[in-house]
């Protein structure tokens, strides 16, 4: 066994980059002013905040005044969905989304449905990707918002947002994309994507937790999400997280600068992992499109065993991974994302997500490939379902 933990749950969160931490530290104790204060201590903090906003905007190709800081991706998603719906409800109450959005989008949509909005959930088919023609076909006269993620958090599939934007822009419908998993992993050029609203967060790209952002395109009006002071140009109240904003900007800049190199490294490791798992462990499948997926994402269904048991066994072997298993969430239903791919409940229960990050090495992959088959064998030997497979095959 390795004497260290192999962390392959980077889609959940990443390790704060030490250089990012170093950039943040002065803003806890040295430059600690409130940017809303008029005195020089406050003005100093405002300058730092402005610079952080400019840096993020530059890295993602938008204007600084289009970036609004939030507490993270969930707040940004909630704000985008609810803010856009309420701002446009006089024009219509129909919203289009995909069946595989994060709960940060689905849950506010459920609330809106209770309030009289109508939501259409697009299918994603076996490859986990929405079809542009479905969006086009399902748009109605009363459609006010389309919200589809740029990359999925579980299966890593990348959605055709730029193509969808061409349709929504032509029809005058707002387009929001949850880019929480995408920024720092794949090239994200906001102007090129042509979206109206985009959520993203720092802790998925080696930045701090507790700071995210919503891009709101110039001229787009959505309702306020937080009531209180006049911060964030009167659109999101609350004293700004200066150290967080500095860390966010530092992390985004670093992630974008090293994106090509990291992407190539992760893709190589991911492909070796996928190929070896699929060829050495029988009854396994890759969930989501093989090509149009995040460089670090590998999501498997390992049939006849259950996801939480796989995770616990991996953890006992010092491997931190994730699962879309029902048992990890306290519900008996497996992940809505895996079910949306058309997987049966039985197969969806045995899912394993390995999300690689730039700290992972080929040695980590070797170790996973050494441990996973053993775990699979142990759990299958314990499984009454596997017993039936063996009897059928013998």
């Amino acid at each position: 066994m390795l004497d260290r933990t192999v962390y392959v749950d980077n889609a959940a969160t990443t390790k704060l980059d030490e250089a990012v931490l170093k950039d943040m530290l002065p803003y806890f104790t040295e430059i600690y002013g409130n940017p809303s204060s008029l005195h020089s201590t406050g003005v100093e903090a405002l300058k730092v905040l402005t610079k952080a906003r400019e840096d993020i905007a530059e890295a993602l190709n938008c204007e600084a005044k289009e970036i609004y800081f939030t507490s993270g991706g969930t707040e940004a998603d909630n704000w985008a969905v609810r803010g856009a719906a309420y701002a446009r409800m006089k024009k219509g109450k129909h919203i289009i989304t995909s069946a595989i959005e994060h709960h940060a989008v689905h849950h506010p949509l459920k609330i809106l449905e209770k309030e009289g909005f109508e939501v259409t959930y697009l299918p994603v088919y076996e490859n986990g990707i929405v079809r542009v023609e479905d969006v086009k076909r399902l748009i109605r006269d009363d459609t006010i918002l389309v919200t589809i993620m740029l990359a999925n958090n579980e299966i890593g599939t990348i959605q055709p947002i730029k193509e969808i934007a061409e349709i929504t822009r032509e029809k005058g419908i707002l387009l929001h994309t949850d880019a929480v998993q995408a920024v720092g992993q794949i090239p994200v050029d906001i102007k090129d994507l042509n979206v109206d609203l985009m959520s993203f967060t720092a802790h998925k790209l080696y930045g701090p937790k507790g700071i995210g952002a919503l891009f709101i395109r110039n001229g787009v009006v959505i309702n306020r999400f937080m009531e209180g002071g006049a911060q964030e140009r009167n659109r999101r109240a609350g004293t700004e997280n200066i150290a967080g904003a500095v860390g966010f900007a530092s992390a985004v800049k670093r992630a974008v600068a090293s994106l090509e190199e990291n992407s190539a490294k992760l893709t190589k490791m991911r492909d070796r992992l996928i190929k070896t798992v699929l060829t050495t462990i029988p009854y396994t499948r890759l969930n989501g499109d093989a090509e149009k997926r995040l460089p670090g994402n590998a999501n498997f269904s390992i049939e006849y065993i259950e996801g939480e048991s796989i995770l616990l066994m991996l953890d006992l072997n010092k491997i931190s991974a994730s699962s879309g298993s029902a048992c990890t969430s306290g519900s008996l239903d497996p992940s809505h994302v895996l079910l949306a791919l058309g997987l049966s409940h039985e197969v969806a229960h045995g899912s394993l997500r390995i999300s690689l990050g730039h700290n992972n090495t080929e040695e980590d992959i070797d170790y996973i490939l050494e441990v996973l088959p053993k775990i699979t064998k142990t759990l299958r030997n314990m499984s009454p379902l596997w017993e039936k497979v063996e009897k059928r095959e013998n």
Partner: protein, 153 residues
């Protein structure tokens, strides 16, 4: 499992993790004279119990489980609790006793202990059936049918 897991979301006790990582009585019993299976793959849990009963005493017991850590641990603990016991004593095993023996389970995992109790009762029902005795008045609903499993949800 160490302290980290106890502080984590699932908060499994050390005993649960011990029974999960070193499950007792795993496997099949070729000479079992009572076999019971409960659960539903759709819900993510299936437990199969094999008992060898001689002179009304459970002399051997094995299990196979498809499920989460709690499902494996409750199966393992339940087999330990009935091994060497009389059929009557095994009939009295409750899910609460399994939970207690494991030093507790997270609320979302209590259904696993219910399933362990039902798996044993299902095997005992099979034992009675093989003797030409209607098990329902003795065992009650053993949870062996798909309909009954609904109440775990």
């Amino acid at each position: 499992m160490g302290k980290g897991r106890k502080e984590g979301k699932l908060m499994y006790s050390n005993k649960v993790m011990d029974h999960f990582s070193n499950p007792r009585n795993v496997g099949e019993l070729a000479d079992a004279n009572a076999v019971g299976e409960v659960g539903n793959a759709k819900c993510g849990d299936i437990m199969k119990m094999y008992l060898k009963i001689e002179n009304d005493v459970i002399v051997d017991v094995k299990f196979k489980t498809f499920g989460c850590g709690a499902a494996v641990a409750t199966s393992s603990m339940a087999t330990e609790l009935i091994k060497g016991k009389t059929v009557k004593e095994a009939m009295e095993l409750t899910n609460s006793a399994v939970v207690e023996a494991l030093d507790g389970l997270p609320p979302a995992k209590i259904h696993c202990s219910v399933l362990a109790e039902e798996a044993i009762k299902s095997a005992l029902a099979d034992y009675y059936k093989k003797q030409g005795i209607d098990p329902v008045p003795i065992v009650g609903c053993s949870g062996c049918c798909q309909d009954c499993h609904g109440h775990h949800e």
